[in-house]
């Protein structure tokens, strides 16, 4: 929300001395409307360290950037003197196929990583856009449908290298999956949105690519929220070991079309068809019609996420699975009250759905929708978080409702970034 700050010429010289790939920021570099004075592209962790040391010496505010796919999320930075662009650090440093481990530079794209790992029949089990970078995915904590089985980036990350706000390089974890030596900084940096420091390298646990996959889907009547809840809970709790339990309600609660539940099964060519048949029965017994088993990729949840610059509103609702019916009812009520038409979907079996409002939605209506959801779900176990929204909505509704442990989070921020120069204002939270 700040206007551009003036950066002293001496600061620019210091940055250039630390990192030769330095240029002045231009229009396309703006993050949620905030244009950086400089963009630097370090080529190594050492260079990134020198760069952040120089930035610290001149009191510059810093925002890390991967591919920029997630930069439209969160609140706009309060200030951004320097964007650290990670595009030159895009190496896959080590792929130990026999150990199912890979060490990767933060700027490597998910698509590139996937193609390298696939040659060994392996994968980084996160369904995220191929353009996104490893560092960006960790920093935003993004995961797709298969978070139900494999978790979020924090669950697959086994080692991390970061550069602190003061330029100090620190590592935690390692390159073995089983390791409890020291505090796990990887957990702390996962989802930290660049506010604690710069991620330069990440090491992940990998999984074998399945030989066979199938999506089993079932459609429900628009008012059969109990059926949907029962289907999601039964699928998620079944011994058929689904990899994803998704909900998709394209028209949202105010559409005549009902929600659809999709279950992903991964496994062997011999095993998957039988599991798909049993899963179809399970969905049917919860009231779904008709059920189908297909092997193509469904539920590309990220596509409806709005582009940075012209954001719609994306709200993330997390809950205990038993309460899904209550959440869907709350969405209906809040949508009706605000006069909006949200699209609803996400990894419902993992206790999370997204509600999206079209970019054309009036800010006041979007705010009323978010507040309506929070009022209704207040006291329930879970949260209503605004991931992306036009600035007036974000300012009025706030990204978060109350967050447990907020005082400790502030203490962490103060320890890692005492001057509050790293991505200032990107993560906001209630008391």
């Amino acid at each position: 929300m700040s206007t551009e700050r003036t950066v002293a010429p001496a600061a620019g010289a210091a940055l250039a001395a630390a990192c030769p790939a330095l240029r002045e920021g231009s229009g396309p570099d703006a993050i949620a409307g905030v244009r950086p004075a400089f963009v630097a592209s370090p080529a190594s962790t050492d260079e990134a360290s020198a760069l952040l040391r120089a930035a610290a010496g001149h009191g510059l505010t810093v925002v890390p950037r991967g591919a920029g796919t997630g930069l439209g999320w969160g609140t706009p930075p309060a200030s951004c003197d320097l964007v650290v662009d990670m595009s030159l650090m895009d190496g896959i440093l080590e792929h130990a196929a026999g150990d199912l481990v890979a060490r990767i530079q933060a700027g490597a794209s998910i698509g590139k990583v996937a193609s390298v790992l696939a040659t060994a029949g392996q994968q980084l089990a996160l369904d995220v856009p191929p353009d996104a970078t490893v560092g960006g995915v960790v920093a935003t904590g993004t995961a797709g449908p298969r978070r139900f089985r494999y978790g979020a980036p924090r669950d697959l990350l086994i080692g991390i290298t970061v550069v602190r706000a003061d330029g100090v390089v620190a590592r935690s974890g390692g390159k073995v999956v089983k390791n409890v030596a020291g505090y796990d900084l990887g957990k702390l940096f996962s989802g930290s949105q660049g506010t604690l420091g710069l991620i330069t390298e990440a090491t992940f646990r990998l999984h074998p690519l399945p030989a066979s996959v199938a999506w089993v889907t079932g459609e429900f009547g628009p008012s059969d929220l109990a059926g949907v809840t029962s289907a999601v809970a039964s699928a998620a709790g079944s011994a058929l070991v689904p990899s994803a339990v998704e909900l998709e309600w394209t028209g949202g609660p105010r559409s005549p079309a009902g929600p659809r539940v999709g279950v992903l099964l991964e496994g062997s060519r011999a095993g998957v068809p039988e599991r798909a048949r049993q899963m179809a029965e399970l969905l049917a017994s919860a009231g779904a019609t008709p059920t189908t088993a297909v092997s193509e990729v469904l539920f590309r949840w990220w596509q409806p996420v709005p582009e940075a610059g012209a954001p719609g509103t994306v709200v993330r609702i997390s809950y205990w699975v038993r309460e899904l019916g209550e959440v869907l009812d709350a969405l209906s009520t809040a949508a009706a009250g605000a006069g909006v038409l949200p699209t609803v979907g996400g990894p419902a079996g993992a206790g999370m759905v997204y509600a999206r409002l079209d970019p054309g939605t009036e800010p006041d209506s979007a705010t009323r929708f978010v507040c309506g959801l929070r009022d209704r779900l207040d006291g329930a176990r879970g949260s209503v978080v605004v991931l992306a929204a036009p600035p007036p909505v974000m300012a009025a509704a706030g990204a978060y409702g109350p967050v447990p442990g907020a005082a400790l989070m502030r203490a962490i921020k103060d320890q890692f970034d005492p001057d509050h120069r790293m991505a200032p204002g990107r993560l906001t939270g209630g008391s």
């Binding site: 929300m1 309060a78 200030s79 026999g98 150990d99 029949g121 602190r164 620190a170 590592r171 935690s172 390159k175 073995v176 089983k178 390791n179 409890v180 030596a181 505090y183 796990d184 957990k187 702390l188 996962s190 989802g191 930290s192 506010t195 604690l196 074998p208 709790g237 011994a239 070991v241 496994g267 062997s268 095993g271 599991r275 997390s318 809950y319 205990w320 038993r322 993992a350 206790g351 999370m352 879970g382 300012a395 706030g398 978060y400 967050v403 447990p404 442990g405 907020a406 400790l408 989070m409 203490a411 921020k413 103060d414 320890q415 509050h420 204002g425 990107r426 993560l427 906001t428 939270g429």
Partner: protein
């Protein structure tokens, strides 16, 4: 002088927890002088057994106000001295807090108190067709609160993950004595992942008072297979081939000749006679998947040179196969008066190299080493055997034990896979991490416990001084100024 301060705490602690739950008698206090790592002993100045989260918070607040260090203890089964008391401090024993507060089968969650034993969670969940996956060998007695502190694993964490993957919410008492929640049970992180950072922090960031755990559906079928080999390297080849085939078993365990001998002496597990190594592979999941995997695993085990293969598909037969493995640590007591349980990790593909190194170290020193390991994830538990009646043997064993860790680090591994650093391994931390790494980790400590009263002296070899951090915030965000939001 410190003792007088602690003595001064007694009336307040009796008021909080009841007189019967504050232990001051020196003989009774001796009960708590060590945890599962008996080589380190220290009698606490006093012990207190709170019955509720609120009592725990009040106890901690009293300690904090008096500047007295405190250490939390679960069942005391830890193997790195993480619950080693301080002579100048209060031991807070969580064993009275053992209620299973709620099981929500549809959400697959349970809310429990920290003193609940690991296995009893699975027992309580079983009627709903669910179980709690982390299964450290001590699961009959170890507490889930202790599991959270240590981020415990177990034989089945190869497939199902560690404690940190199965905990979705923690109510903690901060080192200042305040109750707060980290995580809300959903498994979805909002703000910084303090839940993840706290889990495995070995009791140095606060005390857990309630735990929300994830429950998993019981597998449709479980098949266990035991394969005997002439050498550990043949067994290791089978492990590589299984992983290479894209199979992730629930567990892959290996024992060498000496540990088989010990298990045989202790529990008569009747493993194939003369085997140089046994491999235990467990597969779980939907029947249609496991049947196919089992056939593949069996043929790979044969191809690697198995001299005998036994299979089990019911709980009783499975228990027979597991009996030797589960008894291994205690069993070496049958073949050696004393022993050190080591816990090192290497990349799985380096297992052969490190086992050869261990054999060489053993030959050079004359110190016998029995090897039991989680072969699937490269987690070694060498049991270093010695006789404390023989002068110099304990020191020689310590040296071999340390050299094994060096060998693990040379291969890019870790000094601990599941037992923790505690007091036992803090001196090895600088071999695995640089000064800046350790300094940065301790920023977390400073955020949670700036006074350094919560389990001090554990994990880190050198404590960091947590100076007051000057506030440098510039113009506040309008929402902060309006008191609506906080900006990180």
């Amino acid at each position: 002088m410190t003792m007088t301060i602690i003595e001064g705490l007694v009336p307040r602690l009796r008021e909080i927890c009841g007189a019967g739950n504050v232990i001051t008698d020196p003989l009774e206090l001796r009960t708590y002088e060590c945890d599962g790592l008996t080589s380190h002993r220290s009698v606490p100045a006093l012990a207190v057994l709170p019955g509720t989260a609120e009592e725990t918070a009040a106890v901690v607040a009293s300690c904090a106000a008096a500047g007295v260090p405190f250490v939390a203890r679960g069942s005391g089964t830890g193997l790195s001295g993480g619950a080693l008391p301080r002579e100048d401090g209060v031991l807070i024993v969580m064993s009275r807090m053992r209620a299973i507060i709620e099981i929500d089968p549809a959400s697959r969650r349970a809310i429990i108190e920290p003193g609940v034993t690991n296995l009893s969670v699975s027992k309580a969940a079983a009627p709903f067709g669910l179980f709690y996956a982390p299964d450290p060998s001590s699961q009959v007695v170890c507490s889930v609160g202790g599991n959270v502190a240590e981020n415990s694993g177990g034989a089945h964490c190869l497939k199902h993950g560690f404690t940190v993957h199965h905990v979705t919410g923690l109510q903690i008492v901060t080192p200042a004595g305040e109750l707060t929640w980290l995580g809300d049970g959903t498994g979805v992180t909002t703000g910084y992942d303090l839940l993840g950072a706290f889990t495995g922090s070995e009791g140095t960031l606060g005390i857990v008072t309630k735990i929300i755990v994830k429950l998993m559906p019981l597998p449709e079928v479980v098949h266990t297979l035991l394969a005997a080999y002439a050498t550990t390297s043949e067994g290791g080849q089978a492990v590589s081939d299984i992983i290479g085939a894209g199979i992730v078993p629930a567990a892959i365990e290996m024992m060498d000749a000496l540990s088989i001998e010990a298990a045989e002496a202790a529990v008569q597990c009747n493993y194939p006679a003369g085997a140089g190594a046994v491999l235990i592979v467990e597969l779980d999941g939907p029947a249609s998947e496991v049947e196919a995997e089992l056939a593949t695993v069996r043929s790979l085990c044969e191809k690697a040179g198995a001299t005998e293969i036994r299979a089990a598909d019911d709980p009783a037969q499975r228990a027979v196969i597991w009996a030797g493995r589960k008894s291994a640590f205690a069993a070496v007591g049958r073949i050696s008066p004393s022993f050190i349980v080591q816990d090192g990790v290497v990349p799985r593909t380096s297992l052969g190299t490190v086992l050869a190194r261990i054999a060489a170290l053993s030959a050079e020193s004359g110190i016998r080493v029995a090897n039991v390991f989680h072969a699937g994830d490269g987690n070694l538990h060498p049991l270093v055997l010695y006789d404390d009646a023989v002068p110099g043997q304990e020191a020689a064993a310590e040296e071999v034990s340390g050299a094994i860790l060096d060998a693990c680090l040379e291969q890019g591994g870790s000094i601990t896979g599941e037992h923790g650093v505690g007091v036992d391994k803090s001196r090895y931390m600088p071999k695995m991490f640089g000064a800046d790494d350790l300094d940065t980790m301790q920023l977390v400590r400073c955020a949670f416990d700036p006074a350094s009263l919560c389990n001090p002296g554990k994990v880190f070899p050198t404590p960091r001084l947590c100076g007051e951090v000057p506030g440098h915030r510039r113009a506040p965000h309008p929402a902060v100024a309006a008191g609506q939001a906080e900006i990180f």
